[in-house]
């Protein structure tokens, strides 16, 4: 009995000693932790410092920076080679990926959307229905789009009731006695007021209020002339309605109205890449319009980027945004503002990446359609295969993707690295009992 009591007493004394040693180790670990943080800060400052020495010497496995770090720090750190510091810095800066990764459902959706976009581009959008200015032997294998044909099958005369009500001064179809090159088949492209865009609205309102006509000649010269229709006060008040009404009266006529922004192409007197006969971008755009590429065909093409946007936004809301908002409402996410902000930012980035890749796929398929039509037909038929609205959306989403890609990740890195460091300290503390094993190879205590 006495022996057992003696052994128990000895064990209690050993426990006190071990507890004291554990406290010393913890204190030592905290000191090392602080020193490592200081070292990382010093290394970060070094990399941005203008006075960084040209040579960094090292002997054995000790790190010695020529007078940059104090000897106390390097001695306290013990063995920490320069390569390890470099690796630490790399881990620090690469702890956050550029974009949250896609899972199999995301990838499946992107691939499916790409395939559907391709089919829609070839079959539904295709080429615009031909006008009489398209040669019969033009060639090409891309068919006239079903949707485009359906939209353009609804046709009204240029002399309809709405056009009689919404008379505007910029509707001259010819300019006799000038070299402007106006004719009934291109005047809506060459006059700025017919452009269904904010630019067209500005010039259209200006022309209505001044009784004039603004546009560009066939040779790219911008002009403004007064017309036979003088300005009236009532027309000035109703100018926006007159403008809209006039465009509505023209949209379903045989030539239709140009695609948004198309009027601006008439000042681009730059040679179009690969165009025959030194045709400029203005010439190619004009031929596209004259051969059927009008606002209705533009709308048919806009169906593809529109559907991509609707489908991805809906999918993303259901899978990611709504559950995240639900967690916030239920206070499941911690009240840590930084972490909440980071999660929202990553959800937004994930959506931006999905939209970018979906539009990239659709634009690439359209590029293929243009190439196929160009190889089998002529240049202008290939130009009519361009889905302008798709390329516009691709440009917008690319800019958003790049802005997010090169965002300032300091906050995200700081939070993520803090978590990594905390996890590693937990791992060290969990391993500590096993580091103090006695000869029987069993831990003296458990945490």
């Amino acid at each position: 009995m006495k022996n057992i009591e003696d052994k128990l007493e000895k064990n209690r004394q050993d426990m006190v000693i071990v507890q004291g040693e554990i406290k010393d180790i913890q204190k030592d670990s905290n000191d090392r932790k602080n020193l490592i943080n200081t070292l990382i800060e010093d290394v970060t400052n070094l990399s941005t410092s203008q006075d960084m020495p040209k040579s960094i010497s090292s002997k054995r496995e000790d790190v010695v920076f020529d007078g940059i770090l104090s000897e106390e720090i390097t001695n306290s750190l013990g063995v920490l080679p320069a390569s390890k510091l470099k690796e630490l810095k790399k881990q620090f800066t690469n702890s956050i990926p550029a974009f949250p990764p896609f899972d199999k459902y995301d990838i499946f959706l992107l691939v499916a959307l790409g395939g559907l976009a391709g089919l829609a581009d070839f079959l539904l959008v295709g080429l615009p229905p031909k006008t009489r200015w398209v040669p019969r032997n033009e060639g090409g294998v891309v068919p006239v789009g079903w949707l485009s044909e359906r939209i353009k099958s609804w046709e009204v005369s240029s002399d309809n009731w709405l056009s009689k009500i919404c008379k505007v001064p910029f509707d001259n179809s010819t300019l006799p006695g000038t070299d402007a090159g106006f004719n009934p088949f291109n005047h809506r492209l060459l006059s700025f007021g017919h452009d269904p865009s904010p630019l067209g609205m500005i010039f259209g309102l200006m022309d209505i209020m001044s009784g004039g006509m603004s546009g560009a000649t066939r040779d790219g010269q911008i002009f403004h002339i007064t017309t036979q229709i003088p300005p009236e006060k009532l027309k000035m008040l109703l100018a926006p309605l007159l403008w809209l009404g006039h465009l509505a009266s023209d949209v379903a006529t045989p030539m239709g109205i140009p695609a948004p922004g198309w009027a601006l192409t008439q000042i681009l007197r730059v040679p179009a890449p690969g165009a025959p006969g030194e045709a400029t971008i203005a010439d190619v755009a004009r031929m596209m319009y004259e051969q059927g590429y009008d606002f209705r065909h533009y709308l048919a093409g806009a169906m593809i980027p529109g559907l991509i946007e609707i489908i991805i936004n809906t999918y993303h809301f259901i899978r990611y945004s709504y559950p995240h908002k639900a967690k916030i409402r239920e206070n499941v996410i911690s009240s840590n503002i930084a972490e909440s902000y980071i999660e929202e930012s990553q959800i937004s980035g994930h959506k931006k990446a999905m939209l970018f890749w979906a539009h990239t796929t659709a634009a690439a398929i359209n590029a293929g359609k243009i190439a196929i039509q160009g190889a089998s037909g002529n240049y202008f038929s290939a130009a009519r295969a361009i889905n302008v609205s798709q390329w516009q959306m691709f440009a917008v989403r690319t800019v958003e993707y790049l802005v997010y890609r090169y965002r300032d990740k300091s906050l995200e890195q700081a939070v993520a690295n803090r978590k990594i460091i905390s996890q590693r300290w937990d791992d060290i503390l969990n391993d500590l009992p096993y580091a103090l094993m006695n000869d029987s190879k069993t831990p003296l205590f458990t945490m």
Binding site: W133, V134, D179, G181, N183, F185, A279, E290
Partner: protein, 70 residues
């Protein structure tokens, strides 16, 4: 030769009016296919003679166009 027709050819094919003769071929005047089609649009609105791309491209000489005016 009709003066308006000559001016039309000169403007669209970027050639001198003095180079345009009745027996001249459009190709020799430097006319490209798309320029002929565009010229045909203004031809129709100037002379009120219906045109289309195939008809325009089938007329290879200046005299072919002049005949339409008579």
């Amino acid at each position: 030769m009709d003066v308006k027709l000559k001016e039309l050819f000169a403007r669209y094919f970027k050639c001198k009016p003095s180079d345009i003769k009745l027996e001249s071929k459009l190709k020799d005047l430097g006319a490209k296919e798309w320029q002929i089609i565009e010229m045909a649009m203004e031809f129709e609105s100037t002379f009120n003679i219906p045109m289309d791309a195939d008809k325009a491209l089938s007329m290879k000489k200046v005299s072919d166009w002049e005949k339409l005016l008579n």
